[in-house]
Symmetry: C2
Subunit: 157 residues, 2 copies
């Protein structure tokens, strides 16, 4: 096994170069979002962790829910608004929320006037897929762990 | 599915009543450790998240490594010392570290003069077990997800 770092200062990890796997017509919804990958550098495989910075107006993701993977977030800075199903709730530092596989769809939007910073955790259950109730998009995890995005009818993006 | 909370203020979650599953001769090593369970209240099953407070002198766990589950920690407050294999490193708020399944054993000790507070994440891979290099203890996950602790020769505690 390649020796990973002993520890990392999260804010010093370079942001992930590609902002998202979303297609060009949906990618603008994620403008202003920056992710630093905090689990992979240590060789973690079973779940991922990101330090995600949302500029004012930015969203954490498209409204979505995973079929097999759980997700969890913790607010470090700012006041992002959490949307879960039809509900919304203003969060502040020290708040957390969890999103079980197959539960209500969810996403965060930063409606504040300063950046919001969150930790987000999601496991990598084999055969996972993502449902986007508000957009013509579907995502299916491939056997190699990568994601394939299509329209809901299966046609390519 | 039972409706979980939309969000929780992590510090307001009551501490876990039972301090650890360790036997009486090893439990004192964890004195001064307090855990708040932050994933289960949302119905998460695939991984667990704790907000763990370490009083001065307290340890996060016995030196250990999981066979199948990854672990990850993020420092919110204080200056805990991370032990990984034979190395040690003083951490401070904003630092994180990850511990892949089968990697070097690890634990944290708070040698500071104020409490340390960390977030800790670990997945729940089926058939997991824990190796404790410095203590006569073994732990094996049972088919129902609970843990069975024995001495290393398999004898009961």
């Amino acid at each position: 096994m390649t020796e990973g770092p002993t520890a990392l200062r999260a804010a010093d990890v370079p942001p992930r170069p590609r902002p998202s796997g979303y297609p060009p017509d949906l990618a603008p919804k994620l403008a202003g979002r920056e992710k630093r990958v905090l689990g992979d550098p240590f060789g973690l495989a079973n779940f991922g962790v990101n330090l995600t910075r949302l500029a004012p107006g930015a969203a954490s993701s498209i409204h979505h829910v995973h079929a097999k993977s759980d997700e969890w977030i913790y607010v470090l800075e700012g006041t992002p608004t959490l949307h879960v199903g039809e509900a919304e709730r203003l969060l502040s530092p020290g708040d957390c929320a969890g999103f079980p596989a197959g539960g209500p769809p969810h996403h965060l939007v930063n409606r504040g006037d300063r950046d919001a910073v969150i930790l987000e955790v999601g496991d990598r259950a084999a055969g996972d897929s993502v449902f986007y109730p508000e957009d013509d998009l579907a995502a299916a995890m491939q056997p190699d762990g990568t994601w394939r995005y299509t329209r809901k009818d299966g046609s390519p993006l």
